[in-house]
């Protein structure tokens, strides 16, 4: 396995986490591949940047922050992924109460013609062993 490529994919994920935690929708969407498929466990599949963007605009209403703990990362030239546990916390926009959830996620990044890694597939679930 090419460790440098794995680190490039990890770096792409770190950029995504930073943009998400800043609730910066434009910075976040610049990290997506045009063919993004977002396979969330609780809602219908979202395909393409405009659909995914609208979903994030809605989710940013709680000013979410996410933590991530890696469990596996593999990459080759052009394609790589990271999987692990996540914890999202936020603030309910009406009553100010804390909201959140935990789960497992896999994010797959594809390298574009400019050499930049872009998020092309994102799936999560809610298994019983998540302890982040």
């Amino acid at each position: 396995m090419n460790q440098n490529l794995v680190d490039q994919v990890r770096n792409a994920l770190d950029q995504w986490l930073q943009a998400f935690n800043n609730n910066d929708i434009e910075a976040l969407m610049s990290l997506y591949d045009p063919e993004i498929v977002y396979a969330n466990s609780a809602k219908p599949i979202e395909i393409g940047i405009p659909t995914v963007k609208q979903g994030f605009i809605n989710s940013f209403a709680i000013q979410p922050k996410v933590l991530f703990k890696e469990e596996q990362a593999i990459a080759v030239n052009g394609l790589g992924y990271v999987t692990g546990q996540f914890k999202v916390t936020g603030t309910h926009p009406e009553d100010g109460s804390e909201v959140g959830e935990t789960g497992r996620v896999v994010v797959i990044f594809r390298q574009n013609e400019s050499g930049d890694w872009k998020l092309v597939f994102d799936m999560d679930n809610r298994p019983p062993d998540v302890n982040i």
Binding site: E35, V37, A39, N40, S41, A42, K43, P44, I45, E71, Q72, I74, A75, V76, N77, G78, L79, G80, Y81, T83, R104, V106, I108, R110, V120, F121, M123, D124, N125, R126, P127, P128, D129
Partner: protein, 130 residues
């Protein structure tokens, strides 16, 4: 055969082996670093852990069907994502068991040039129609 077709072939081989409930044939298709991130069970890492889970699941003689939603592949790594439907038979009362959801299966090519399943995750969103 182009790389996308190689991934489809690898997945179809896995589906055929799974639907035959042949544990040794299924396990032969896994990468040693397999991570099975099932929605209902703790993560299973490595072939022995995955094999134990499959042996248990074969008690219901499961059959799977799959409909592809996305497939991307490059030399050495590729994946297929889509909807699945599982049917089986309860070993106690003979009743039919069903399940459905969405899955992603990531394959890595080994040094011998064979595609092996290295990551498998599923969930159960509300839009699955299979």
């Amino acid at each position: 055969m182009d790389i996308k077709e190689e991934i489809r072939t690898a997945l179809n081989q896995w589906l055929t082996a799974f639907n035959s409930n042949n544990i040794d044939t299924v396990i032969d298709l896994y990468d040693p670093e397999i991570v099975f991130a099932n929605q209902s069970n703790p993560i299973a890492i490595g072939i022995p852990a995955v094999k134990e889970g499959l042996i248990k699941s074969f008690a219901v003689k499961p059959k799977l069907s799959f409909t592809e939603e996305q497939l991307i592949a490059v030399d050495g790594l590729g994946y297929a994502a889509g909807q699945y439907k599982m049917t089986g038979t309860h070993p106690g009362d003979g009743s039919t068991i069903t399940g459905k959801g969405r899955v992603v299966a990531i394959f890595r090519k080994n040094e011998a040039g064979n595609w092996k399943l290295v990551f498998d995750m599923d969930n159960c969103p509300p839009d699955v129609t299979l």
